[in-house]
């Protein structure tokens, strides 16, 4: 025999990547060709040795101190907002995040102003008015904070999710956002309505729950 197996064929044989008929033909050749037999044996030996390299190599002794130092420095830096890991998404830019915070504060203030009016002293129609407004402001701040945090986490994993899954999640979030907007507008107009805070809170809970579940989705789902 004067012809030898191509290098690709030898590799595919070593990797068990050949179709059955090709594999048989290659093995028959190897059995009768000392050159190819030796090459295949050497290749297999090298691959076995390579696989055995998957063990530990001790890192430099002082590396942990360096890692720890970086972690501690970044912990301090994060007392100020760390914009490095802002979530991706069309709506999130540093400016919009700041604007969202401003809107939150403004909205809370607007709710208060709408309830209290320009003259506030002793003009409450019901003793319930201040407590309803105050409790709702605090609750909404909590919801918004949770939403932003979960959005950040979701953005970290978004590129590991199937596009169809991301699209479905965004569609559901959009549905919830419409409901939140409508309920909030109604609450601003009718702050004494006892059912509206419950409905609005329900919508926020839905949003948070959906985001939480979305952050836990496995890759490629």
């Amino acid at each position: 025999m004067t012809d030898h197996l191509a290098w690709e064929t030898l590799n595919d044989l070593a990797d068990d990547q050949l179709q059955e008929d090709e594999r048989q033909a290659a093995e028959v050749h190897v059995q009768s060709c000392p050159t190819c037999a030796a090459s295949l044996a050497a290749l297999r030996e090298a691959l076995q040795a390579a696989h055995a390299l998957r063990d530990s190599v001790s890192p430099p002794d002082d590396l942990w101190a360096e890692v720890r130092g970086t972690i501690e420095r970044r912990k301090v830096a994060r007392l100020a907002p760390d914009m490095t890991y802002l979530p991706r998404g069309w709506w999130v830019t540093p400016g919009r995040v700041a604007a969202a915070s401003l809107i939150l504060v403004t909205l809370s203030s607007a709710v208060t102003i709408a309830i209290l009016g320009p003259t506030t002293a002793g003009t409450f129609a019901s003793a319930d008015i201040p407590s309803l407004a105050v409790s709702w402001q605090a609750a909404e701040r909590g919801y918004q904070s949770s939403v932003l945090e979960l959005r950040t986490q979701l953005a970290t994993n978004a590129d590991r999710l199937a596009p169809s899954t991301v699209a479905a999640i965004e569609q559901s979030l959009a549905t919830i956002d419409v409901a939140i907007a409508e309920a909030r507008e109604a609450l601003l107009r009718d702050p004494l309505n006892a059912a509206l805070p419950e409905l609005l809170a329900s919508n926020y809970r839905q949003k948070i729950e959906l985001l939480r579940r979305a952050t836990q989705l496995a890759p490629s789902t």
Partner: protein, 188 residues
Amino acid sequence: MSEPQPATAPDDATALAARAQRGDVAAFEQLYAQCAGRVFAVCLRMSGDRQRARELTHDAFVRAWERLASFRGESGFETWMHRLTVNVVLASVRSDRRRESRVALTGDLPSPTISAPGRAVGPGDVAARIDLESAVAALTPQARMVFVLHDVEGYRHEEIAQRLALAPGTIRAQLHRARQQLMRMLTR
């Protein structure tokens, strides 16, 4: 890709990760102690340079600390850490390429041909005896990346292709060339 065996029972690492997620640096240090050897090995073999491996290992653990919230415990911590490390190394390679405008060409290696097995280097030879680790380190960067991911770390062609943004067929061809390069060094 075969799953690396955890150094300790998976529940221990998961419990440590849970504590680390709450800000416990001491718990994270224990995770470091358990995983650093594997992480450094991956970085060393993929980069081929000890100093670079040190930097990449540092970056991998800092990234792990900052991304702990994404560890859900569904795989072992060491598996999660391994995946993160490979991502860190590949990201740094892409960053290095952009910075230095250097591209690892697939066609710069000689066409693979079957060659007669060379004479093994004997113990008394003056010529340098290249062991496998050194041979791997001496591969060209792209060849080393593909070889380490496939033949050392056990990634499949398709997984490597996805991570390197290349076609699986291209990865296969690069792998074969890398092995050819390696065999020539080992049998010199």
